[in-house]
Amino acid sequence: MPQASTGGEIARRQRLERLRAMLERHRGGGGGGPQRFVPTGVAGLDAVLPRGGLPGGAVTEVLSAFDGVGAMTLAFRAAMAAAEGTRAVVVVDTRGDLYPPAVWRLGVAVDGLIVVRVRRPAAVVWVVDQALRCSGVGAVVAPIDRLDEAASRRLQLAAESCDGLGLLIRPAARRGRSFAAVQMCVEPVGVELSGGESTGLNGRYAGSGNALIQGGRPGLGVFPVRLCRVTLLKVREGMPAGPFLISLDDETGVGALLSVSGDRPAEGGGSVARRVSA
């Protein structure tokens, strides 16, 4: 963000940088290389996160309100960016319902996906621990229900030994103290119908984004664009922020930040709505 640069400002920023570097050294993280930051793929969200992305060598918790919201999509997009095409992505399948073709469609390399099928929580924690310590693994994605503090700390330490990205997907009801570096809550965005109707489709179902729902204009959140509300509950080196309204386009894979306040952009909100309705 461009600011008025006076001498005092520059000195202040330099001091902040020095303090930040000192803090990092004290924390002693990193696996022998510069810490990397993995973009989530949603441009606006990356701008809000400190250093432009999720921290590698740390655990990010994605809290999801319920299924079908979009938490796993976000997690896999980050995992794909972390894998950089050459490293493996380890997915822990606790519920037995992972669908690999959908993961491939998101862009994860076909050959780079390893799926570990375990159910017992203790085994899941062990698997994530081992995978995070491996330098050939770019990201680990694991849905975990219960995670006590000791296990959370253990996973964070394991992540710090290398620069892999740990992504734990947990139910939002479990938000609480955690040792994760970033905690992100993903909530659904309800879709309203025009005219206060709530009885359904009225016969239009071959929709492709043109369903006339909001007063004659293409509505937000219908196919192929999905909306979700993301709140950053905890960010290391940053302030909690949000909720942000994010749109993800299924067809093009483009993610965009729609509004910083979490509300819908106003009717007729120029470029934003047009981008969505393209």
Partner: protein, 530 residues
């Protein structure tokens, strides 16, 4: 039932008893066999694997070592034992042959055996004589061989056909032909075989020597099941083992750890198998794998000895460790991770998905075990006990050579150890064989339920998406839907799948993948676009 692919067509090689009862015979194509079997009846099919057949034969040769010091592998299914000089130990030849056949029968093999003065004669009697067990009295091999067909002399089919055309059916008739002209008309090979069978020409039998095993072991003074003692013993054994590997500049992919009980208790030793996806001789890596195994180990007895052995070693050059891991060493690290996970959780738990060409969503991928270590066969474990038994029997003395008596046994129903049908590729994400662009995959939900769940729906438009449905006691109102996508497939699997899929957006913001089963009209939830 064993099948093999020949010239692009899969044919039956060995049908089992049930298959034979149905009328399936050797040489039939698989499609015919399936048709004979009938719909709905499962047909067990295994691919023929010459490697595992050979390995099984070698194991039998090791087992037969107790009868003779010289055991020769002939062809794919024959063992030739040289019993010259063993008369003092086995005075009754018929009983010996019976013992051998019974012993092989206990291992699950149907055997035909014969004993004769010459190896050729024994081979011929075992293959062609109507009896399953025959002993030709010493000196009377010609009389025994006379009624057998000429093909039993191990000659090629062309010569057999020529002989048949000439009207020579049996060996007796062959013997009547003038010798001088046999060589020039039918080839010297036939004459040579004939002489070998009759004892006029020598036949050399090379004894089978199993490849030297790599092993190391340690004895624990007092039987114990304390983990720290076992761990110490294992580390020492591993150090000695890795030293041997270093000396040979070789690596292993399959390792056996044997815990033996105190000898006076005569308990079966417990054997654990460790597979790695790549040949390794890294002591650190093997140590981590073995200690992971030790954590879950429950011994029924106190261990008095720990042994480590490996059958196959591969040449493995030293790899220079790089300072910053890139590329190759990263792939090696991932392989080690996979080994560790699989050692603890089982190789079925650590898998890699592969795309499969199928329209039915749940069949569009397949999981492959991520490790591709050695064959997991019961035969390998059995071999351990074999070795232990053999060592315990010690060295038997053979004295004198008084004539040569051969015993020959044939194995007719090979026991199938494993399905070696899939080729395993070494793990590498650098040169991906599957470099499919993301757009090749149709939009599918990230979470697909293993079985579609029936849900009550309210449908306003016939043939259209539902307008409401209920999932886990929550009523969802459908706001928008994309579809229908019709999937009709699977009729060759016996269950025809005809579904209309809809991508549905609910008022609460969730996105769901529903389908309507066209035959029954029922609605199911199949997945979530999470």
């Amino acid at each position: 039932m064993v099948v093999a692919d020949r010239a692009g067509v899969t044919r039956v090689v060995v049908p089992d008893a049930g298959a034979v009862a149905l009328g399936i015979h050797e040489g039939m194509t698989l499609a015919e066999a399936r048709a004979l079997c009938g719909a709905g009846r499962p047909l067990g099919v295994r691919q023929q694997s010459p490697e595992s057949d050979r390995a099984a034969l070698e194991n039998l040769a090791i087992w037969a070592d107790r009868f003779s010091p010289c055991v020769h592998l002939e062809g794919e299914d024959t063992l030739l034992l040289d019993l010259g000089g063993c008369q003092r130990l086995f005075p009754d030849e018929d009983a010996l042959l019976r013992q051998i056949i019974t012993g092989l029968g206990e291992r699950g093999y149907t055997t035909r055996g014969a004993m004769a003065d010459t190896p050729g004669g024994a081979w011929a009697l075992a293959h062609a004589h109507p009896c399953e067990r025959i002993v030709a009295p010493p000196g009377q091999v010609i009389a025994a061989l006379a009624p057998l067909p000429a093909a039993a002399l191990r000659i090629d089919e062309g010569t057999v056909a020529t002989l048949a055309a000439l009207g020579v059916q049996t060996i007796e008739a062959l013997l009547h032909l003038p010798r001088a002209s046999l060589a020039s008309r039918l080839g010297g090979a036939l004459v040579h075989r004939l002489d070998q069978a009759l004892g006029d020409a020598p036949e050399l039998l090379t004894p089978f020597r199993a490849r030297p095993l790599l092993k190391s072991g340690v004895c624990i003074g007092r039987a114990t099941d304390r983990h720290d003692v076992l761990r110490e013993a294992l580390e020492r054994v591993l150090a000695a083992f890795c030293e041997q590997l270093d000396q040979r500049v070789a690596g292993v992919r399959q390792l056996f750890v044997v815990f033996e009980g105190p000898p006076e208790l005569r308990q079966r030793p417990v054997t654990l198998e460790v597979n790695t996806s790549r040949a390794t001789r890294s002591a650190e890596h093997l140590r981590r794998l073995l200690l992971a195994l030790l954590d879950d180990l429950r011994l029924p007895f106190g261990a008095a000895g720990v042994r480590l052995w490996a059958r196959h070693v591969e040449p493995l050059d030293g790899v220079q460790q790089e300072l910053f891991g890139t590329g190759e060493s990263r792939a090696g690290e991932v392989a080690e991770l996979v080994d560790r996970l699989a050692a603890r959780l089982g190789s079925a738990a650590v898998v890699r998905p592969r795309p499969a060409s199928d329209h039915q969503p749940e069949q569009a991928y397949a999981y492959e075990p991520a490790t591709e270590g050695g064959e997991k066969s019961a035969d390998r474990i059995e071999n351990v006990e074999l070795r232990i038994e053999n060592e315990k029997q010690g060295i038997r003395k053979r004295e004198g050579v008084r004539g040569k008596r051969k015993v020959r046994s044939e194995k007719s129903e090979p026991r199938i150890e494993n399905e070696a049908g899939r080729a395993h590729r070494p793990f590498s994400i650098l040169d991906s064989q599957f470099s499919l662009p993301a757009s090749d995959f149709v939009k599918r939900p990230l979470r697909l339920l293993r079985r579609p769940v029936a849900v009550p729906v309210v449908v306003v438009v016939p043939e259209g998406p539902p307008s409401r449905f209920e999932w886990e006691k929550v009523r969802e109102v459908v706001v928008d839907a994309l579809g229908p996508e019709r999937v009709e497939t699977g009729w060759w699997r016996g269950r025809h799948v005809r579904r209309d899929y809809f991508r549905v957006l609910c008022a609460s913001g969730r996105r769901c993948w529903l389908f309507r089963e066209r035959e029954t009209g029922g609605w199911y939830v199949h997945g979530w676009f999470d």
